[in-house]
């Protein structure tokens, strides 16, 4: 499946690194762009994008499809997304399992869905429509969440796995989000990872988070923590090699530090592939 092609390890393309990436062409497997930041008419963003696209595979990651919203899909936005995809020919297009708009207004955040049959049908139908318009499969990412609903009848992992089957889409598994949500809601993050259908996970995200009182917040402003590295190792053992991105969107470090984090992900991946899960369980 095209959403499962392996491109190795990537980083997010952020303005603070534009010059170094363009001039230095560091060895990076691929670059991720936030789609909305490049859905513009011209200027520096489009110039940078043209340049990097000539040298790297690019993945488009969006935040505004609002796949779970009960508002109609915003067709003008979808057209712009399709136009950008035509220009970029990205390796993947992804967005989130959430809702972020209502009544014609946008909240610019990733709000949680109830995991019900109604929501599943709703989101699956919308993913299918988006894929029809884009002419390609997309990847859906699990979000960090801070609340759940009493009337949910499915777990998040069952919901996501079933959505991928029904809509025939890929999964972008954010391992940090699994860890954050597991802490916030008291489930075992390995249960989530184990429920992911192997052939559907086409991309992995790793990021840092913060502690805010009793809750963990997905802030993308820290290095990946040890527990998330451990969970990533288990994820690779479960899913095999999957293209992996280090997300760092706030308090962004120097490019060298970011690449160091990416190299660490390569190391953990190699270690996980070399040591299957059964062997790791037998180790003292």
């Amino acid at each position: 499946m095209p959403f499962c092609q392996y491109l190795g390890h990537g980083i997010g393309l952020r303005p603070v690194h534009y010059r170094e990436v363009i001039e230095g062409r560091p060895p990076i497997g691929w670059l991720e762009i936030i789609s909305e930041n490049f859905m513009v008419a011209g200027g520096n963003p489009r110039r940078v994008l043209r340049d990097v696209r000539g040298n790297y595979p690019v993945a488009m990651h969006g935040v505004s499809l609002s796949l779970g919203s009960t508002d109609p899909l915003v067709l003008a936005y979808l057209d712009e997304l399709a136009a950008l995809a035509d220009d970029v020919e990205p390796a993947w297009i992804s967005d989130h399992l959430c809702w972020s708009s209502l009544g014609g207004h946008t909240v610019h955040d990733l709000w949680p869905l109830p995991y019900t049959e109604e929501a599943l049908n709703h989101v699956a139908a919308r993913v299918a429509r988006v894929q029809d318009r884009l002419g390609r499969q997309i990847q859906i990412e699990n979000v960090s969440s801070y609340l759940t609903y009493r009337h949910s009848t499915l777990t998040e992992w069952d919901f996501l796995a079933e959505l991928a089957e029904r809509a025939d889409c890929g999964i972008l598994l954010d391992v940090n989000n699994v860890y954050v949500s597991a802490h916030n809601h008291g489930f075992d993050p390995r249960t989530f990872v184990d429920a992911m259908p192997r052939g559907r996970v086409g991309q992995i995200h790793l990021a840092g988070h913060q502690h805010d009182g009793a809750l963990f917040l997905d802030t993308h402003d820290h290095p990946v923590c040890d527990e998330v590295w451990d969970l990533y190792r288990d994820t690779v053992r479960r899913c095999g090699r999957v293209s992996t991105l280090i997300e760092w969107d706030d308090e962004i470090p120097a490019l060298g530090r970011l690449l160091e984090e990416s190299r660490r992900a390569m190391g953990v991946e190699a270690e996980a592939i070399a040591t299957p899960r059964e062997a790791s369980l037998r180790a003292p």
Binding site: E36, N37, M39, V40, A41, G42, G43, N44, P45, R46, R47, S64, S66, G68, S69, T70, V74, Y77, W99, S101, L102, G103, G104, H105, T106, V107, H108, D109, W111, L113, P114, T116, E118, A119, H122, Y146, L147, T148, Y149, R150, H151, N184, H185, G186, D212, G213, A214, L215, L217
Partner: protein, 272 residues
């Protein structure tokens, strides 16, 4: 008592949206959740109450928009200070909730909103400053257009000059102001102490030249010429427009001066 039916997805989203976009620090948790019929919907547990959990979203909604506005209006933020800017952003987002999928448009209505806001009663020039900042922000990633060069102009035959279509590059704005915000802008750029700008009827031309957005003041004659050209005009049209009441020599000098400057500043687009 019969338990309440779970809300439909639509109803849940309406309640969630209303709760998060109306939240303020002084509303009691219980009252907040009950007021939006979410007390029986959101799970609370030993780790955190439902209100604590929902509040994460309410706070993030405000913070994210505030951060984006602060990036787009750095001078306004500097003049107001962080606290007053946050309060303004909160008022703005409630009055003008974002309606565009991209955050880049979040500040589009702030200058007009600011004009009617309490902070502008004491400092009415802030609305002019915000309008200028928004023009800069908006043009940053606006459409590209190659500018007409002097050599391209010279390559045309003299008989083609009259029919030359004058088209301003799309990345420009003409901004009217009632205060000398250009001077205020300059002092803020330099890090110099600032005072309230003097009242002055100004017209500012803001445009992007290659990748850099810049502005300058224009006098009344140039402002009128720019607005005329904005509507679509040939060089002959512009000459006719500017000749009214003046001698042929004066008109020629004025048109030559304007055209030279506009070409020199990459303001005229090449091509059809």
């Amino acid at each position: 008592m019969r338990p309440e039916e779970p809300p439909s997805l639509r109803l849940l989203q309406e309640r969630f949206y209303a709760a998060c976009t109306s939240w303020t620090v002084d509303v009691p948790d219980g009252e907040w959740l009950e007021g939006h019929h979410l007390d029986g919907t959101v799970v609370d547990d030993d780790r955190a109450t439902g209100a604590t959990r929902l509040r994460v979203y309410a706070r993030m909604f405000l913070w994210r928009i505030t951060d984006v506005l602060a990036e787009g209006f750095p001078k306004l933020r500097e003049l107001l200070g962080a606290h007053a800017f946050r309060a303004l952003a909160a008022d703005y987002v409630r009055a003008c909730p974002p309606a565009h999928p991209s955050l880049r448009n979040a500040g589009r209505r702030l200058p007009d909103f600011l004009r009617g806001h309490a902070v502008c009663k004491a400092a009415p020039w802030l609305a002019d400053l915000a309008r200028l900042e928004w023009a800069h922000d908006d043009l940053f990633d606006g459409p590209d257009a190659p500018p007409l060069t002097l050599s391209q102009l010279r390559a045309r035959g003299a008989d083609e000059y009259a029919s030359l279509a004058l088209r301003l590059v799309p990345c420009h704005r003409i901004v009217d102001a009632s205060f000398a915000v250009d001077e205020l802008w300059q002092r803020l750029e330099e890090g110099s102490p600032v005072a309230a700008p003097r009242p002055a009827q100004l017209t500012l031309l803001v445009w992007r030249r290659e990748l850099a957005v810049q502005h300058r003041t224009v006098d009344a004659a140039e402002a009128a010429a720019l607005r005329f050209v904005q509507r679509g005009a040939t060089l002959a049209d512009l000459c006719d427009e500017l000749s009214q009441g003046g001698s042929l020599d004066d008109t020629s000098r004025l048109v030559f001066a304007l055209l030279s400057r506009w070409i020199d500043e990459d303001l005229i687009a090449s091509g059809p």
